[in-house]
Symmetry: C2
Subunit: 408 residues, 2 copies
């Protein structure tokens, strides 16, 4: 894409009321636009990143047998009253229509998905099954100061699974855990899984996936040697104690950001909706249910928090809006040719064809954070070379022009 | 996909309160689930159709230079109060947060997109530009009896363009008109464009794209020879009159469904938000704005209304959930092999591997409406043939098993 065709421009400053690093950088780079605290629109660059994150999540959910659906976000109040969520969940947005009907905005979808699946699962032969969706969620947060990491409107992948017994839920949880770690790894993040307190309705323990970052809202206690990791909220040990699992190291504490969670919902929702299936013995039985959340916009915010540097964002290749940022310094004719070569070879290129100073182009390129920066200038052309710099590298390499498509 | 893996099942009956043909067929086929009047969730089969429709729309919008964004649906009240929409638009859903902030749910996005574009378009050199999104919209309809054709929550593509002068808007409108006709054609529909009355705020004429169907909520008057077509609401002629444009035929009236609209918004929104750009003479000037809507879920409903028959839905190939419905009649071993061959060849196949009667499989296949039905039975295998029937054809053809991948 030509940068002169992109309707957004970089900004020197984010809005004054923006307090989070992720939104500050994303706004300045032209990835998102702030509509109000906790509500952001995604601009062309930001939507490209979000689409890539969503596609990674989608591929991993499909790979473990998740069936994608798109659930309504405007909910009737009945199912929310049936489960108690209407009165108990303080972040639930409620509204009333002209005809005096009460609605809720989806903040999670157990109330819709449980009776939906109930219409199709009659027998133990129909279980287990897992459905998921990727869509908007709404939460009436009192404060929303974490940019796209905690929004009043945000994108989320939520999966719901239904099982005949606890062993089967546990089996599936291990599969989901692996796919969650795949997702974080593909997004360039290092995640840990912790035990945390249950959700609104779960009396059981829940699992949270955490990325260590200074912007984190949670405090965790973890072992550097084994997988032991626990949320400080429910930890029995403290910093400096020996790891209760491997005994080989002392526990450390850190700030961390939640990037996913799992709730073992037991039979709570099945019982609320009278959802039974016929088991092998011919008895009507309530299925067990699990809920697996992952904020897609939050994940994008955490990537920015965890991987940016003083000059701007540092996108991992997997979710970068483009692979190559091609900068022309008074060499548009040759840059055009290279732009054509690279795009013909299937490389995603943002081509800075603007009539702007070199310093501005370099600063914008660092801010936007595309993995490879390629500079074409009269000087480099004289020696038949292009300057290629990885966003994560300190210095650039000189690459012969003819080898560029293969190099990238 | 194996049908035994699909969590939905066909139903004999739609909910009793469902009055529209489109939702009745879509619910019975397992494409959508009704949450309440005017609100539907999309199940795996339905989401596949909707994704294909969205991708056709996306490709056509990208081809004319539209830049895709994803706009927030939870809106602050300020911009809606600024334009007068807060009090004037009766279908606007309003809600209040715990902290007494007032919000609106997006029913169209001029109020968000105008100030958003304002932050990036400063000069005549930044214009024209067009941004669009595909996402959920919300309208507080008094009645919602048309299935997915008129929802309280629905999917929509909305594009907004900004221009320096009326000639340029007119030029772009002609380009959009062509791309809209491309979309309808690719979706198997025959559309006409009419002049209609303006929208909520437009004093100018608007354009509506119409598909002739018995389920249509509008009455149009059209000429069978030329392109003349007008909404009866604003028609000066009547049925049987000579066409005022070509004079060659008599006007006919028909029921039609709107599948898209264009509003010439003039400077209304630019003035509301004080959005000016610097023109070539160095004067600050308000841009002209156009809005181009197309309901994506509505389009899916119209396809069902326009193309279904007594046995069920008839999907055009371009948006069908699968290309081939493979039915095994007691021949699972050979059907498995053909399923593998076809999917390996890149053909999208729904494979009915259920343990069900032939009559049930045939009826479900007609209801679901996949373009090609392939039946593998012991009888056909004996002669090395498969029975292939197009959903639109009266009779089947016998095709040698080895030629199936090429045939399909």
């Amino acid at each position: 894409m030509r940068q002169t065709q992109l309707f957004t421009k970089t900004k020197k400053l984010a809005p004054k009321d923006e307090m989070s690093k992720n939104a500050e950088l994303l706004i300045r780079g032209g990835f998102v636009h702030k509509e109000m605290a906790g509500v952001y629109s995604f601009l062309p660059l930001g939507l490209r990143v979000l689409n890539k994150i969503e596609n990674i999540v989608r591929a991993e959910m499909n790979a473990i047998g998740g069936q994608e659906i798109r659930v309504a976000t405007l909910h009737p109040s009945d199912p929310w009253k049936k489960t108690g969520g209407w009165d108990k969940i303080d972040v639930l947005f409620k509204l009333t229509s002209r005809t005096e009907n009460e609605y809720a905005l989806g903040q999670s979808e157990e109330e819709i998905v449980t009776p939906l699946v109930q219409e199709y699962a009659f027998s133990y032969r129909d279980l287990p099954l897992a459905v998921y969706q990727i869509g908007q969620k709404y939460r009436d947060e009192l404060r929303a100061k974490s940019g796209i990491m905690r929004g009043r409107e945000f994108g989320m992948k939520d999966m719901y699974s239904f099982h005949t017994n606890q062993t089967d839920f546990n089996r599936f949880y291990e599969i989901v855990k692996k796919s969650y770690f795949n997702i974080y790894e593909r997004c360039g993040l290092n995640a840990k899984v912790t035990e945390a307190s249950g959700g609104n309705f779960s009396e059981k323990i829940s699992y949270e996936f955490m990325v260590l970052t200074e912007a984190g809202e949670d405090d965790i206690l973890y072992c550097e040697i084994c997988e032991y990791c626990v949320n400080l909220e429910i930890a029995k040990a403290k910093e400096g104690d020996a790891c209760p699992k491997c005994q080989k190291s002392k526990l450390r504490s850190a700030k961390a950001s939640e990037v996913g969670n799992v709730f073992d919902l037991g039979q709570k929702y099945a019982k609320d909706f009278g959802f039974t299936y016929m088991d092998e013995a011919g008895t009507r039985t309530f299925p067990l249910m699990g809920c697996y959340g992952m904020g897609t916009t939050r994940l994008m915010g955490v990537i920015v928090e965890a991987l940016s540097d003083v000059s701007g964002i540092v996108w991992p290749e997997s979710v970068a809006p483009f692979r190559v940022h091609l900068l022309s310094l008074d060499a548009n004719e040759q840059a055009e040719e290279i732009y054509k070569q690279l795009t013909d070879a299937g490389v995603e290129v943002l081509y800075d064809d603007r009539d702007a100073r070199a310093g501005e182009k370099f600063a914008d390129s660092d801010l936007i954070g595309i993995p490879y920066r390629v500079v074409i200038s009269q000087r480099s052309l004289a020696s038949g070379l292009a300057e290629v710099k990885r966003r994560t590298a300190k210095s650039a390499e000189m690459v012969p022009l003819g080898e560029l498509p293969n190099f990238l």
